[in-house]
């Protein structure tokens, strides 16, 4: 049978089968598995049917715990059910996994295996998550490549029905889940043939059914529980053979034969590697090379069925000649005798040697090692190092490979120059920006090559850890033979650099081969380009005798209406230069792929792309550099010489893309990193930045308030300090009573940190009276002013910060003088969340403890290499931590308990030590009023005095007091996260925490969607908004979290939108912190996932409020005591139609184009909901609540 050849990634391969053999799919987004759920949802929306002719029901839950519960319930009532997850998500499923396995329920969970959060979170791939489910009773089966993912999915869905053992089918997160590869697609007939309907019938017969009632899930006692647990043994004993039979059945259908353990290598091997996952492919490739070129007797045993572990099948697969075995685990179990696969191998071999069933003449030497944690590269050089280690009489055991462990010396040395790939494989590297579409174009290219030529093809894409100005590196391979290279391209024949500026950021030609081809998108003409190149690049071009091509892709894009997207243009260049296909055929295929990619969005966008293709080749030029000289342009240093040593020595390596070379000794032992490091990473990503016109400025402070990156700052300072300023430094007299007399005033832009979002310009209310298009801030090109503004910024930083005690924090123009202690984060340009986060850091930063839920805010707040939480000149600043996604409210609550306890203990000790401290000071400390900056300042002074007095006191109490004395100064605990956390996965905890009455401040950065994982629906999503898992528009109303919190009566609740009313926002933050109890602020945060012009985000916020979608209010329980209604509405009744707000945003207006009828209906429902809600709030705010009202009192 001639099957379709397709080019897809591992996630799609798994979902392709899982969808077709399921009736119910319960999902929850988590990287890198989200795609599987998204595809299932999209297919269901398109009414794609499963193999039984019905469309599976796809349902999003509030967490993975919820998803697994739903899976359990669906299975128990007879629906074939699946789910997809990874990492912490799999952890949350473990309780139900025990249940599902304990009840012998057939099911398959497809897992793109990912690291777990320990000292740090990582989204990348290893087996730590999967290995933590070994004990649940689930079978574990592993796929090593995209083809295997689809094949194994079909095999395991058959095997689970027959064996009744549920399975985790796993494959490496990112390396396999996101690798795009040419493969043979299983048809519905193939999948149909793999499913035994008799077994489906049996499964359904076992389901809960009132027509034939029974109970399952009893509570058992010591008398029988144990025996009950042993009943399942025979099913586990039978399972391996059932899986092998399924593999054999699969082979009979497709010709691809798998075994529980597949050996590859010399038949008489003496040294072998045993491993699972994508790394086994690199091992196979290396073994192939070593056996063929040097005749080494080596091999690799790929473990496919890991649980139930079959010793019988293992022994049958290993050559009897084997003397030494290296077992590689992609996980770490601190404190264990070894990692899981190693321990299993040791047990299996030693048991079989002991009982005489092993084929070996003597006990093989077995060593274990770790590799590839968090998608760490695993290359042929490392495979060779592992095999070479086995040559030693006493090979290193419990080793690591791929890192430099200079602390406990576990690591094996390897030769990075060792490579095994042949010349028949074409390898290409493309450096681009996220915004220019490079990755999308390369995905299309690899599809064209894979599907339109006989070549095998592979694409893998590396992304940035920053969300703004992010860079991408695409790794493409193709050639006549199947590709087993499951690692990044090491040497490339073709390098494309799609953004000129990246030549300074990356050593893009480091990996190009001699005589290779270099394609550069240059904003300069073909004659100018050479002289604009950094001299390192010029030298590399000359030394490596490269074929050097240049195109001004931006000019072509501009002329053809493509804006900044050069993807189609650079793709055309690639095909034209590489000659993979004849020119005309290549262009035809590119156009075909354009039609496929853009066709659904209308003809015009297709036409523009076609035009770009047609105009590309005439603008592509090969540069003859034979007579050109190397110039003087140097690559700038990665970080300033003024940076701290740790930044210069360690973080800078990560910034340069050389983090793989960081040694173990250079890493913190417990995940602790210094604050304030983003200031050293000058990213220079903005093409245009705001320039301040002091003649027009009215000193309102709004620009600094909305700046998402804290790159526009304000200072008021004594005029005399201006004398040392650089010539271009701008200043004006400070106006208003908020500033001390004789003050100068400056608004300074950090142009190297600015992302160019324009929010500041948009909110600036001051217009130039002579030319109204100009404001007090106007965008200007960055490069011409970069140098001067760098000097101005340095001078600005040298100016003193205003004494916090003198700042009137209730007025924005003064409050914005407070130093932001959250700066230059990697958030999206124009982010709607970070202005709120920054505001907290300004108001309370020097006493702030932050518990941050996993999500956007934990990523832009804590993703290496550099982090934005900073500190002031006194060395104080926010203390920040991220625990998990689901537990953040509780995490912050624990912080509050801790702070309060230590404060209480400190106070107890102060009383005990009153003789040494002095009564006056004791009284002052214990009775301190810390409600404002002055009070806090004075308390700090008192505590400092007390510490001095205690220095000489030798007593345990004095020592203890010194340990906790800092807790006598007020601490502000803030719990932050997005709506996915607050409304969904963490809601139970949030609800519990606010019910406890403790003084915690909760900030919900509400984007109304799961932003970090790519826009999935949350319970905050509104009627009619399109999101993933709500492709037809959300059909239910947004959850009213504020109302739920207000129902407690003792929780301060505010709903704010900075773009609509910045004063109300400021007031809410001040009141929330001042309230001695739980506070909840729900902050409207415009977001990239709304499909809007981010520079106009504040306008959208205003429209949200004006329409009534987002009413502004503050509910302050303290008002009860004043005899006032605690609820105060801060916005006016709806004054624009809901549609005038929502149709400004793609998330809503796209529904009018995809589902016009539903859009109308949902708009009507949404509008009615807005009006109903408003009336409700209005009534509530209008209620009489008096302190003397007996009814209220009672």
């Amino acid at each position: 049978m001639d099957r379709r050849k397709i080019t897809i990634d591992g996630n799609e391969a798994a979902a392709h089968v899982a969808y077709r053999v399921s009736e119910v799919i319960a999902i929850y987004p988590i990287t890198p598995s989200s795609t599987m759920g998204e595809l299932s949802d999209a297919w269901a929306a398109k009414q794609l049917k499963n193999i039984w002719g019905t469309v599976p029901t796809v349902s999003e839950l509030q967490s993975e715990g919820g998803a697994s519960g739903a899976v359990h319930g669906a299975l128990q009532t007879g629906a074939l059910t699946t789910t997809f997850t990874a990492s912490q998500g799999l952890f949350l499923m473990i309780p139900n996994m025990y249940k599902i396995a304990g009840e012998l329920t057939p099911a398959v969970f497809h897992v793109s295996a990912r690291s777990i959060a320990a000292a740090a979170l990582s989204i990348f791939g290893d087996h730590s998550d999967v290995m933590s489910t070994r004990q649940t009773g689930f079978g574990l089966i592993c796929s090593n490549s995209v083809q295997e993912v689809m094949d194994t999915a079909a095999i395991v869905h058959r095997a689970t029905l027959e064996s009744r053992i549920p399975f985790v089918h796993f494959f490496d997160g990112f390396r396999t889940s996101a690798e795009v590869m040419k493969m043979e697609e299983l048809s519905d007939d193939d999948i149909r043939a793999m499913v035994d309907d008799e077994k489906v019938k049996e499964f359904k017969k076992r389901a809960l059914n009132p027509e034939n009632p029974f109970i399952r899930g009893t509570a058992q006692n010591p008398d029988v529980y144990f025996q009950g647990r042993e009943t399942v043994n025979k099913f586990y004993n039978a399972c391996p053979e059932i899986v092998q039979n399924a593999m054999d059945k699969f082979a009979s259908i497709t010709g691809r034969q798998y075994h529980l353990f597949d050996y590859y290598g010399a038949a008489d091997a003496t040294r072998i590697i045993v491993m699972m996952g994508s790394g086994a492919e690199a091992a196979q490739e290396t073994v192939d090379y070593l056996t063929k070129t040097t005749g080494e007797k080596v091999g690799v045993l790929k473990v496919r069925l890991y649980r139930p572990f079959s010793v019988k099948h293992l022994l049958a697969a290993i050559p009897k000649t084997v003397e030494k075995i290296a077992v590689l685990d992609r996980t770490k179990e601190p404190g264990s005798l070894g990692e899981p696969l190693y321990l299993d191998m040791v047990t299996a071999i030693s048991e079989s040697m002991a009982d005489g069933t092993a084929p070996f003449t003597k006990m093989p030497k077995i060593v274990g090692g770790r590799y590839g944690l968090s998608s760490k590269e695993f290359t042929p050089a490392m495979v060779k190092a592992v095999l070479d280690n086995l040559k030693n009489d006493s090979p290193k055991n419990h080793f690591t490979v791929g890192i430099n462990d200079d602390v406990t010396f576990t690591s094996l040395d390897y030769d990075p120059a060792f490579m095994v790939e042949g010349d028949e494989v074409v390898r290409c590297l493309f450096y681009g920006l996220g915004a220019d579409g490079t990755v999308g174009a390369n995905k299309n290219s690899i599809k064209i090559i894979g599907e339109e030529t006989p070549n095998y093809a592979q694409g893998y894409f590396v992304y940035d850890s920053k969300k703004s100005g992010s860079t991408t590196i695409s790794h493409l391979r193709f050639g006549p033979n199947p590709i087993h290279s499951t690692y990044l391209v090491q040497t490339a024949k073709f390098v494309g650099c799609h953004t000129f500026g990246l030549l300074e950021k990356f050593d893009v030609l480091d990996n190009i081969v001699n005589g290779g081809t270099f394609l550069l998108n240059s904003p300069f003409s073909k004659d100018e380009t050479w002289d604009k190149l950094p001299n390192r690049v010029q030298q590399q071009i000359i030394d490596k005798k490269l074929n050097f091509y240049v195109i001004d892709g931006y000019a072509v894009a501009g002329k053809t209406g493509m804006g900044g997207r050069v993807n189609t243009i650079m793709q055309t260049c690639f095909f034209a230069i590489s000659g993979i296909l004849p020119k005309d055929e290549a262009i035809e295929q590119i156009k075909k792929s354009i039609k496929k990619t853009y066709g659904s969005k209308g003809e015009e966008i297709v036409k523009k792309n076609f035009l770009a293709v047609d105009q590309t080749l005439e603008n592509l030029h090969q540069i003859d550099y034979s007579s050109l000289k190397v110039g003087a342009i140097q690559i700038p240093p990665i970080v300033s010489a003024k940076a701290p040593e740790y930044v210069k020595n360690v973080l800078s390596q990560m910034m340069e893309g050389k983090g793989d070379f960081v040694k173990v000794s250079e890493m913190p032992i417990d995940g602790t990193f210094p604050s304030a490091t983003t200031q050293w990473e000058k990213r220079n990503i903005a093409l245009e930045v705001p320039a301040w016109d002091s003649e027009v400025c009215i000193q309102c402070g709004k620009c600094a308030m909305v700046c998402p990156h804290a790159s526009i700052r304000i200072k008021a300072y004594d005029k005399s300090l201006v004398s040392g300023a650089p010539a271009t430094f701008k200043h004006m007299d400070a106006k208003g009573k908020e500033f001390p007399e004789n003050s100068a005033y400056t608004i300074q832009v950090a142009v190297e940190d600015c992302t160019g979002c324009e929010l500041c310009v948009e909110v600036c209310p001051a217009k130039n009276k002579k030319e109204t298009r100009l404001k007090a801030l106007n965008m200007v090109p960055q490069i011409p002013i970069r140098e001067q503004e760098r000097a101005n910024w340095d001078f600005f930083l040298s100016l003193p910060e205003m004494d916090r005690r003198l700042i009137n924090t209730s007025v924005i123009k003064a409050q914005q003088l407070q130093q932001p202690l959250f700066e230059f984060s990697g958030a999206c340009s124009g982010c709607g969340e970070t202005p709120y986060v920054k505001l907290v850091s300004q108001l309370f930063g020097d006493r702030l403890i932050v518990a941050n839920a996993t999500g956007c805010s934990s990523i832009y707040g804590g993703n290496l290499p550099t982090t934005p939480w900073s500190k002031n000149n006194e060395g104080r600043g926010p203390a920040w931590s991220n625990s998990l996604f689901e537990d953040n409210a509780e995490f912050g609550f624990g912080m509050r308990l801790s702070v309060d306890k230590q404060n209480q203990f400190a106070k107890e000790l102060v009383v005990k030590l009153q003789d040494q401290i002095g009564q006056d000071l004791v009284d002052a400390i214990l009775n301190a009023n810390q409600k404002d900056e002055a009070g806090i300042y004075e308390q700090r002074e008192r505590v400092a005095t007390m510490k001095q007095k205690l220095e000489g006191v030798k007593s345990i109490d004095a020592e203890k007091l010194l340990e906790v004395a800092d807790y006598l100064v007020k601490k502000s605990v803030w719990i932050m996260g997005g709506d996915g956390w607050a409304y969904d996965i963490g809601y139970g905890g949030l609800d519990h925490v606010i019910a406890q009455g403790k003084n915690v401040n909760i900030l919900v950065l509400d984007t109304e969607v799961y932003s970090n994982t790519g826009g999935q629906m949350s319970k905050s999503t509104s009627f009619g908004a399109v999101a993933k898992f709500a492709a037809g528009g959300k059909a239910t109303a947004k959850k009213d979290l504020a109302m739920m919190a207000m129902s407690y009566g003792n929780v301060y609740v505010a709903k704010v939108a900075m773009g609509a009313n910045d004063v109300q926002t400021l007031r809410a933050f001040l009141e929330a912190e001042a309230y001695d109890g739980p506070s909840l602020i729900i902050a409207y945060s415009h977001c990239i996932a709304h499909g809007i012009n981010m520079g106009k985000g504040m306008e959208n916020q205003k429209a949200a409020v004006d329409s009534g979608h987002w009413p502004l209010f503050r509910y302050n329980p303290d008002n009860f005591a004043k005899g006032e209604n605690p609820l105060k509405l801060d916005s006016k009744p709806p004054k624009i139609k809901l549609e005038d707000y929502i149709y400004k945003e793609t998330r809503y207006n796209m529904l009018t184009k995809s589902h016009p009828k539903e859009a109308k209906e949902l708009l009507a429902l949404g509008q009615a909901e807005v009006l109903k809600k408003w009336k409700f709030y209005e009534q509530m705010a209008g209620m009489k609540v008096g302190a003397n009202d007996e009814e209220v009192k009672s």
């Binding site: 398109k46 996220g434 966008i605 826009g1015 998330r1147």
Partner: protein
């Protein structure tokens, strides 16, 4: 009483035609207009900008930030097909045709001769009985001469006429140096009717924000004087039919328009403020007036006050201005 008229070959039961406006966005409203007596309906306009930019804008926002960050390779689900505004417009025309029996006139608003003109054909295929071409152009570029602009109008009409068989009306602005000449050129280019005149939405200033703001002001009936004059002048000089639009608010306006030579009177503002029922009210008053004044048919009064039919043809020209000034002084 015979109120019937013929417009671009379409036999209409009376001369009242609701012009392009949001009223035609709802099939139910159009049905109500038909029930109230409207003789035909001009559908709201499909704009060249929508055709040219909507697709690009949608692509921009759907793919913005895509493939940039490992955890979020995109932000939106992608349906297999989008029904973009132009496609929905065609669907709407087809729906209207299914729902009402009065003629449905599609409306295209644009200025260039680009790819968008093929939508004329699409509108025809969707079932429209005729097409109204609204050429809306603000000649802000001092390098573009009046001749170039006039040629542009003519070229668009020629281009559209090449692609469709249904009749094509051209809705014009009053700002031509030689309106008569322009009308003749458009007539020669194949226009089946001229619709006089388009009302431009003139922007306003927000003095608080120092911003230019759009400001929609509905018409008043004094505004019909300008088209009234030009219809009176052009009547009888062209093959093309004439429609009067701007400022038609009551039956006397319809009568004046007809007497000037208009084949139909188009209405919008009055219907937006007074509701659909205004059509039947005006028709009733029209009939009453005609009865009282002994007119048997619309045909009878059509063009009766046109320039060539009145006793003082010069009244429509400059002398008219002088006379008015004189009478103005006398009043004071």
């Amino acid at each position: 009483m015979d109120l019937s008229t013929t417009y671009m070959g379409l036999k209409l039961k009376n001369p009242i035609v609701p012009s392009a406006s949001p009223l035609s966005q709802s099939v139910d409203t159009v049905k109500a207009l038909e029930d109230a007596g409207a003789a035909a309906i001009v559908c709201y306009s499909l704009f060249e900008e929508q055709i040219n930019h909507e697709s690009g804008e949608l692509d921009h926002y759907l793919t913005y930030h895509a493939d940039s960050y490992a955890e979020a390779l995109n932000y939106f689900p992608e349906p297999e097909e989008f029904r973009l505004t132009p496609i929905q417009y065609l669907d709407h025309i087809a729906n209207l045709k299914k729902s009402v029996s009065i003629p449905v006139i599609g409306s295209l608003n644009g200025v260039s001769t680009g790819g968008w003109v093929k939508y004329a054909q699409n509108i025809e295929q969707a079932g429209a009985d005729a097409l109204e071409l609204n050429v809306y152009y603000i000649p802000a570029d001092p390098k573009v001469s009046g001749t170039e602009i006039e040629n542009m109008y003519v070229d668009v009409v020629k281009e559209i006429k090449k692609t469709v068989k249904i009749p094509v009306a051209v809705k014009l602005s009053p700002f031509f140096t030689s309106m008569s000449n322009m009308a003749e050129r458009l007539d020669e280019a194949g226009a089946d009717a001229l619709v006089l005149f388009n009302r431009f939405y003139q922007p306003d200033f927000d003095l608080e924000k120092l911003e230019v703001v759009p400001n929609l002001v509905l018409s008043t009936n004094w505004e019909m004087r300008l088209p009234l004059r030009w219809i009176a002048i052009l009547y009888g000089q062209l093959k093309a039919n004439l429609a009067l639009t701007s400022g038609v608010h009551n039956h006397t306006d319809v009568i004046k328009a007809t007497m000037a030579g208009a084949d139909v009177s188009m209405m919008c503002s009055e219907l937006l403020t007074g509701g659909v029922k205004r059509v039947s009210e005006i028709l009733k008053s029209l009939e009453q007036w005609m009865t009282e004044n002994e007119y048997d048919s619309i045909k009878m009064m059509k063009g009766s006050m046109s320039q060539k039919a009145v006793a003082e043809p010069a009244a429509f020209e400059r002398a008219n201005y002088m006379k008015m000034l004189n009478s103005y002084k006398m009043l004071w």
